[in-house]
């Protein structure tokens, strides 16, 4: 009965999305304030209804109600409580419900906090958001209903896919979805601006915080997924250029471009038209990601063709939203007024350069991801596009971008001086060169790219630090006043510096972990020792063990450095009984920012085991850098000017006051 109640709540929510799709925008276009005023309460009611249905589904999982098909397919009574809970979104139907929950959550937020927006903009935005929501709720109700029942309920469930029974996977999808779906608000804003035919100051100021919020979560979600793959999949890789990873990476790239172009739009009223296009593209790429992951088209084009219900539905949604918004853009964008001019060498110019490279990189990843599908569909020819391709095409686009990163924030608006900017960066440049020379001296010419890569990372990091130092003018005004200025810097300045520093940290981790990794693959017996870098890894023996819903072989290892024991690790091979599926659990010892990584292979009889032992120098920096980037986004969101109302833009004031003075 409760299950049907959840189902009913979702149907009600669908009806409300239809109401909201029409009424507020009708009010906005006819100037009827009563109709516009319905937007906010209806958005909140939608949120409550979807929340109710989500809670009902969660309850079914926690109670192991196997009369629900979705629970039966993806849960097991012996599954630990945490994974009963996270199993709700560990499957197609549940994850779509989570997606919709976040969509309506953002609608409700705009309803609650949109008080300082012009009423017609808010109403139109919420209507557009409802179009998206309606599409996805209909998708759930029509093709992916998590509330379907089984007539004769089985006594036990099929269990959740064992590799998803992990704390990393518990957190990963919600983070990623908040990121994906967060861009929907920016999309709705952009479409609303196109429909109303204007982008005013309030519009410009609203885009950036929402973009930052979504970007922050997407960054954390991608980093989490990467770390999860690293420790759970058992071969120590952290990024595979898998189409599903690309599906989350493309909105990230476009979103990064968007949050940079939004700065220009907010401060200088330039790049408006371009920012609107980026806002549309970013969410379109999120939708494309949803299509790629949810339709099954990746596994095989032909599997997609034989069971097309879900895939075709999302494809139609995709075409309506992307095609519709782009057509609207082509029609209405020329009406938007363009703002301030700037010289090529200027802060704006730097941000345009950033957008150029990020957009080109997005295009390269997009084509690389879709090309094999399209080629197969058109000609039947099968090719693979994998890691070596992306390293070759994506890498060269990132290098000039990273080289340019430190210049952007030290250039002045409108018209910058490249020479003066370079002078501010002398220390950073010198430091980077020193590091390059030092690494060459340490490692010789055997790896040419690695020292250059490390130098690039140091350049980005030191550039971020020197940006703060030059803004505060430490050396000109003395330490004491310097520190008080430091505290007075706006949040967005800190955000920029911290996020750019994080980029450098991630690059450093990527370069060192890739270039200076040690690997040993050995068959080990109890008592054998293998040395990687400075660490001696001794195999003490293996023993079987029972978990709640699996059995495992656990290897015991002692790690010593210079004869002193520093850690004991128990990597294991698990076997999940319900799904008859093996998984590996790596043993990881973190020392500083580096890790010793152990993974078990095949058993060879008489206690011998295949073991892969890695030393991965500075590898944790990859994810730490992402966390630092996310912190930068939070600092930027905390900026005071995003909380106070929109003042008249400086340029306009100056122009109006300057004209009478002439």
């Amino acid at each position: 009965m409760v299950i049907e109640f959840g189902h009913f709540a979702l149907v009600l929510a669908f009806i409300l999305t239809l109401v909201q799709s029409v009424v507020p925008i009708w009010g906005a276009l006819t100037g009827d304030t009563r109709l516009m005023a319905t937007a906010s309460p209806v958005a909140q009611a939608q949120f409550i209804l979807v929340l109710v249905s989500f809670i009902v589904l969660t309850g079914a999982y926690l109670n192991s109600d196997f009369s629900v098909v979705n629970v039966w397919e993806n849960s097991h009574s012996a599954k630990p409580l945490l994974y009963k809970f996270t199993g709700v979104w560990g499957n197609h139907e549940g994850s779509m419900l989570l997606w919709v929950l976040i969509l309506v959550f953002f609608s409700a937020l705009v309803g609650l906090f949109g008080g300082n927006l012009p009423a017609d903009l808010r109403a139109t935005t919420l209507s557009v958001q409802s179009w998206v929501t309606a599409g996805f709720v209909l998708f759930i109700l029509a093709t992916s209903n998590p509330f379907n029942r089984i007539p004769n309920p089985p006594i036990e469930g099929n269990d959740l896919n064992p590799i998803l029974q992990d704390i990393g996977l518990a957190i990963h999808p919600p983070l990623l979805y908040v990121g994906y779906v967060g861009f929907s608000i920016v999309f709705s804003f952009a479409v609303a601006a196109l429909i109303l035919g204007r982008t005013d100051a309030a519009w410009a100021r609203w885009v950036r915080p929402w973009t930052l919020l979504a970007w922050c979560f997407l960054t954390l979600g991608i980093a989490m997924g990467s770390y999860w793959a690293y420790y759970e999949l058992g071969w120590g890789g952290w990024w595979f250029w898998d189409p599903v990873e690309n599906a989350s990476f493309m909105p990230w790239l476009a979103g990064t471009a968007l949050l940079h172009s939004a700065i220009v739009m907010e401060k200088r009223e330039a790049l408006k038209v371009w920012t609107v296009l980026l806002a549309i593209s970013t969410f379109s790429l999120s939708l494309l990601g949803a299509f790629l992951v949810r339709s099954g088209v990746l596994t095989s084009v032909h599997a997609f063709a034989t069971d097309p219900a879900r895939g075709v539905f999302i494809l139609v949604l995709l075409c309506i939203f992307i095609g519709g918004s782009l057509a609207l853009y082509a029609w209405r964008a020329p009406m938007l007024k363009q703002g301030g001019l700037f010289a090529p060498i200027s802060r704006e110019g730097g941000l345009v350069l950033n957008n150029l490279f990020l957009t080109a990189a997005t295009a390269a990843v997009l084509v690389g991801t879709l090309y094999p599908l399209v080629l197969d569909a058109l000609t039947g020819e099968k090719i693979s596009v994998g890691e070596p391709f992306f390293n070759l095409t994506f890498g060269p686009l990132m290098v000039p971008l990273l080289m340019a990163v430190p210049f952007g924030p030290v250039l002045s608006w409108k018209r910058g001086d490249l020479l003066a900017a370079t002078q501010r960066l002398y220390v950073a440049l010198g430091l980077a060169l020193l590091v390059v020379l030092f690494t060459f001296w340490l490692w010789g010419m055997e790896r040419v790219l690695a020292p250059l890569g490390i130098g690039l990372a140091v350049w980005v990091m030191a550039g971020a630090v020197s940006e703060i130092v030059t803004r505060v003018k430490f050396f000109e005004i003395g330490l004491k006043r310097g520190f008080s200025r430091l505290a007075g810097l706006p949040g967005s300045a800190w955000g920029t510096a911290v996020a750019h520093f994080g980029v450098g940290v991630t690059v450093l981790g990527i370069v060192t972990a890739t270039a200076f990794e040690y690997e040993r693959i050995e068959t080990m017996r109890a008592g054998d020792t293998v040395t990687v870098s400075d660490y001696q890894v001794t195999f003490d023996g293996a023993a079987p063990r029972r978990g709640p819903n699996y059995t495992e072989d656990v290897g015991h290892f002692t790690i010593r450095k210079g004869g002193v024991t520093v850690a004991e690790l128990d990597p294991s091979k698990r076997f999940y009984t319900a799904r008859q599926m093996p998984t590996t659990e790596a043993g990881i010892y973190t020392t500083g920012f580096s890790q010793v990584y152990l993974s078990l292979g095949e058993s060879r009889g008489d206690g011998a085991m295949d073991v892969r032992v890695y030393f991965k120098p500075l590898i944790t920096l990859i994810w730490i850098g992402c966390v630092i980037m996310a912190i930068g986004a939070v600092l930027s969101m905390a900026d005071r000017r995003l909380r106070v109302g929109a003042p008249k833009p400086a340029a306009k004031r100056r122009r109006t006051s300057a004209v009478p003075a002439e």
Partner: protein, 159 residues
């Protein structure tokens, strides 16, 4: 991610009788130079029953067979490109994680650089057009001639 792993694992499971693991010690060649070449080649070859995994990473039995095959060819004296040609002739281009540069992959390889060049051209074009049109379109309503506007701009830029 979830979906890909699910499907990768279902495929894996179907092909998997005894759980094996990527690169076993008994596959490693004694000659370190040859082994290094084998590893480099392995990262560019796809395990065809897996989703987007190289044979270097995959623990499917097919990947193991391919790793052994690559090493056999190398020991027999094949060059790297001969090994790749051999595998392509047996399994088709699907086996290559880095597609060949040819007519049917032209757009794939060119997409990134093309996007960059198109972007540069678009920026240059827009900057030029706006540089010309600015004086008439945007400033004219305020009633200033382009010369007055220039003067004003100089005054504004001074501070």
């Amino acid at each position: 991610m979830i979906r890909s792993l699910l499907s990768a694992l279902t495929i894996l499971l179907a092909a998997l009788l005894v759980p094996a693991h990527a690169i076993a010690p008994d596959e490693i060649l004694e000659d370190p130079a040859l082994e290094q070449r084998a590893r480099a080649l392995s990262t560019e070859l796809r395990c065809m029953v897996c989703q987007n995994q190289s044979i270097d990473d995959s623990d499917a039995p097919l990947a193991k067979d391919l790793r052994v095959l690559v090493r056999e060819r190398l020991v027999a004296g094949d060059s790297d490109s001969e090994v790749i040609d051999y595998l392509v002739s047996r399994y088709g281009e699907f086996v290559l994680l880095k597609p060949r540069f040819a007519w049917h992959t032209l757009f794939l390889w060119a997409a990134g650089p093309l996007a960059l060049i198109a972007g540069i051209i678009a920026i240059v074009f827009l900057v030029r057009r706006r540089g010309k049109g600015y004086a008439e379109k945007v400033v004219a309503p305020s009633g200033l001639s382009s010369e007055e506007q220039k003067k004003l701009q100089e005054l504004l830029d001074r501070d």
